[in-house]
């Protein structure tokens, strides 16, 4: 568990956490980017940009 940077709630993290992965805060819904895995560190993820996608 790591605290959401927006609302402070605990965020559940998968076991195979990757730097660069996006996790959702289950409480406020904010998309959070994983900055570090050991120990886990999160920050608000960048907003969707027009040229994103496959």
């Amino acid at each position: 568990m790591t605290a959401c940077t927006e609302c402070g709630a605990d965020v559940a993290l998968p076991d195979d956490l990757e730097v660069g992965e996006i996790v959702d805060c289950g409480t406020c819904g904010t998309e959070l980017e994983v900055l570090e895995t050991a120990p886990p560190s999160l920050d608000r993820a960048p907003e969707l940009a027009e040229d994103w996608g496959e």
Partner: protein, 289 residues
Amino acid sequence: MRVGILYSRIRQDEKLLLGELRERGHDVEKIDVRKHGFGLDGTDAPLADCDLVVDRCLATSRSVHLTEVCETYGVPVVNSAATAAVCANKAKTSLALADAGVPTPETTVAFTPESALEAIEAFGYPCVLKPVVGSWGRLMAKVESESAAEAILEHKATLGHYEHSVFYVQEYVEKPGRDVRVLAVDGEPIAAMTRSGDHWLTNAAKGGEVNQLDVDDDLADIVADASDAVGGGLLGVDAMETGSGYTVHEVNHTVEFKALNEAVDVDVPAAVVDWLESTAAETAPEVTA
């Protein structure tokens, strides 16, 4: 092998790829492209020791530039800069497909709202207006009347970015409630699925239902030709079924395969890594005694 993964966001697709590469004992270097600068003759990014770099940039602009950068540095990269340049732009893709004789929807590119409206009127209603750069079905418009066309063109012209003033007008293709996605490596299909839905856009990203599809000979031929037309590599070829056969409407060069992997019996990340291994072996410098 040592594999560099260019990324700015790790999606489920990249996690599948990373898991397969690590399971096979490959040395994986994740390269967050936001953290580095890329000079004319070098970079602080750890590219140089990579046997192969895989472009998994989520942002098309980064993908197009960084594949060029890798090739300039002499670092093997998939997909190639040429493939990225063609697939990143729908107008270039359409031209490449048409030039190679691959069936693709009739398309007109116009540069003013007035000439775009003329093109729309020439196609008749409904027709389709798409951004030349973009994905996941965003900002796609099914234009069903002149008044709707005028409103959409006015909105696009005021969006600000110059690319919205490149009006990509396309015939509306009646499809049987689904389209087809084939994942292919250098034209050879790995797996395929249909994407179905009630909406005219059936992308998986739009919530389309996905189901495994067996690739028939006609589809395999068209996929091979489409792959050749855009320069080959690891591609997602999107096609629609018409009364007279398949028509290819898009080729994706940083293809997502999570939904496909869930829909088919094939181990998609394993097949992709098989291809990466063979590609790295082909690009490795020959050792002479």
